[in-house]
Symmetry: C3
Subunit: 356 residues, 3 copies
């Protein structure tokens, strides 16, 4: 009998600690991808929008949106890592490397860095470190995530439990600042805001004001653009009988919506350099309206750079709930029912000194 | 206390006569933008569709659709000019300049050319002249629009009323005909119609026959592509409690739909050169089906060119109403209830002589 | 009186045997078109996704998806051939020629190769051979289709009946294998499957497992991308009173969905080389979920090539019906009610020898 040609995806017992997985479908990023991304989220950050603005900052042309890179890197891992996942549990230690330009080709390799069978015997948690590189072998993003994956056979033996130690945040010394990025000529008027790194205070909370309603085509198109094959995003015929009765929006889609909304308050956050952590607190569906607000968690000077500084941010997205009151968790840590995303990341902003 | 990082947009009293506003987010136009535009509207004009056709007419390659340029130029002005607008009242004196090619970067600057407080004390009309230039500083579009904007404080003093004089139409001598555009080799078969400039008569009415139904994702994606941030297009959570209970379609979206429909009857209208005036007579919503018809208002030879002529057109769009009967206004000037757009613009067509 | 400027499309009596029709709107294919196609269908075939993968196989960069080429070639014929069609009856003798790369400009010419009036006097069948070429005159696709077209005047005389002989399948010797395509360095891990041409058996059936739900915007956007003007795809105001009460999805959209789904089981089918036949068994509508399965009809070595082989496939798409049981026809040839597409085509796969 012939081997089945259809790939069922990996189940929990198919993962081995230390194993390396080469993910399929290398992907050349194009101006087309950037334009579809623009139509999906509407970002307005000048560096990614304008070749001229990018050149004024020392780059050869406009880099691709950092989160588009993340989604492309992530999407490749889905058929191998999370096709049989029950839940995407978290992210950590995400570092963006060299900027991606259109014409670059991305490929991702993952290493299994942790395994933990759950007590119920039907699932386990898989930890992977995924590294996405361009055609020159340069890292464009390197991050860890962990997912709860179904077992094929509940009777299969549990592997030894290994839970990797992951940092609460990427250390400043680990951040990759593009070598050629120079912000002496930064044009705050063209960028859309006068607020420099120096103007943000730790603890400051910013309501991004606007909300955007998700459509069914939109999130499925996003997942297709990213070659993310998780079935819950596409198949209403199955999902109508599922837990929610509807297709579930790819969690990364909410991250990109929140980042685009955050322009109103963080217009000069020119680059995402780290994903420290992230949690999809609740699922989103077509018809939901997503709002976002941000808290400044830390303000970090960069070693050897007086023109740029880093801000560690928590951006919270909430659905059908304006964020003027910054909905988050109560004193017991219980999340506000509207919150859908709790995203901890680090961005670069020009320092005021660079204006003078 | 820190300054709020969120930009609330300008209110009526924030505008000063003669002031210049540099709009944020310069934008490099790409093949991706053109393809998304294609998927949104389906235009079939050969000059913008084919590099080969463009080269046969003397251009280096296919220029970007004129209305995509208009929408990108317009979108930049929204955060500064019309975020707190109640209504987009009109356009005038719009002249397209040099063609835009993919790779060009567009930026827009507006000048406040008129102010008029309304008697009710809560709003005023702001007139701006917006000029969008490419990376070489060449004008790609220069137009005026006026909007009714909310006052922040009804008690604020009214500025002196200044209402600019705006022409009923752009004069023929003012039209910019691309210097390198030569239509001697114009291929009418490839262009899709045998009708040259000479074949149109003043007063002629053309039903464009087809209708297209608007989807919710579509108009929001269009606005995001154009970086147009007007809130009414995106947020169903707010709009469900608003005047219409729904998101409102960006008015420019209807202009592009009408232009694409107008191919059937005006296939050789190779370029829009002027926007003489325009009025969004009624709002559109997802689910509406848009039809269009055109009246030839004027047929204008071009000084120094015997290969091209200009037609001044009125294109009327109507919703859920086929346009065989050319719905417009009654004898008292009252608009037919189906009409949503009354658009007065000027296009270039090859002259029959050029065929010989 | 002036000639009507609006093109009503051709009716049955407007076609003459042997006549050649030059279709309008040449089209330069761009990275943007490829990205929109990606967002519409989510294909994961490595050759079309990655410039690096393509170069490793001897091509200058990633070719455009074969079916995007088909849809662009097809779309051009609609205004002339099928605007007044009642039904798209079949395809045959479709051969893909040289690969299409972004920057290429496509134009299509059709020849009328058959005419057959129907007995009811209101319609007739038109057979055309459509040839699409790039800017160098190289054929990119050459295929036949036949459509049932309305007569303008039921009383018009019937032309002599000529029904062309069309092959049941394109012969192996007729297949065009890109001359520079060399698969010695084929990377099965990056391609996403270890299954080579050698691993497939005639009669083997493959369930592609996944399903994808069609949205209204999606199929209309696809048709607009392809400049396909068939009215039934766009106008809900008319279609609500039509036979189905809804807009009908472009049949080719289902072909592309099925091809993208077929990656799961046919990941190494690097190129479609022939369309032997195809039938849109039933219409699709927004909200339908499309599944697909494939039967291997033939396994064909290629003359002079030991690195590549051809598989003739039947891919069947079904709506709202998972395909584990391979729904098709019963013993009497009556189609399973869920089947919407019966598509007979030929693909190239690397041969295992090439791995050694």
């Amino acid at each position: 009998m012939m081997a089945s040609k259809t790939d069922p995806g990996r189940f929990f017992e198919d993962f081995s600690l230390g194993e390396t997985i080469t993910h399929a479908t290398p992907r050349t990023v194009t101006d087309g991808d950037a334009a579809v991304y623009q139509a999906l989220y509407g970002p307005r950050f000048a560096l990614q929008s304008s070749a001229e603005f990018a050149r004024a900052l020392g780059l050869p042309r406009a880099p691709v949106d950092d989160l588009l890179v993340f989604h492309l890197a992530f999407g490749k891992t889905v058929p191998d890592v999370s096709l049989n996942a029950v839940a995407n549990l978290g992210y950590a230690a995400g570092r963006f490397g060299v900027p991606v330009y259109t014409g670059d080709t991305l490929a991702t390799v993952s290493k299994v860095i942790g395994l933990k069978a759950n007590r119920d015997g039907t699932t386990g948690v898989v930890y992977v470190n995924s590294v996405c590189r361009n055609q020159r072998g340069e890292v464009v993003i390197d991050y860890c995530r962990w997912v709860m994956v179904r077992k094929r056979d509940p009777a299969s033996a549990a592997p030894p439990t290994v839970v990797p130690e992951l940092p609460a945040a990427v250390a400043v010394a680990e951040l990759v600042v593009p070598a050629d990025l120079r912000v002496a000529g930064y044009d705050y008027a063209l960028a859309g805001s006068a607020h420099a790194w120096d103007d943000y205070a730790v603890g400051e909370k910013i309501d991004h004001v606007d909300g955007t309603t998700i459509e069914e085509f939109e999130h499925a198109a996003a997942a297709r653009l990213y070659q993310n094959t998780a079935r819950v995003h596409f198949n209403q015929h199955v999902e109508k009988a599922g837990r929610f009765g509807r297709r579930i929006v790819y969690g990364g889609h909410i991250i990109s919506i929140a980042r685009a909304l955050s322009f109103n308050g963080l217009a000069n956050a020119v680059r995402v350099v780290a994903i420290n952590g992230g949690r999809h607190v609740a699922p989103c569906f077509a018809g939901d309206t997503v709002y976002a607000w941000t808290e400044v968690l830390d303000r970090q000077p960069l070693p050897g750079r007086d023109d740029l500084g880093a801000l560690r941010l928590r951006t919270v997205a909430a659905k059908d709930c304006a964020c003027a009151d910054h909905p988050y968790a109560d004193a017991q840590g219980k999340m506000h029912p509207a919150v859908v995303l709790d995203f901890d990341y680090t961005v670069l902003l020009p320092r005021r000194a660079a204006k003078l």
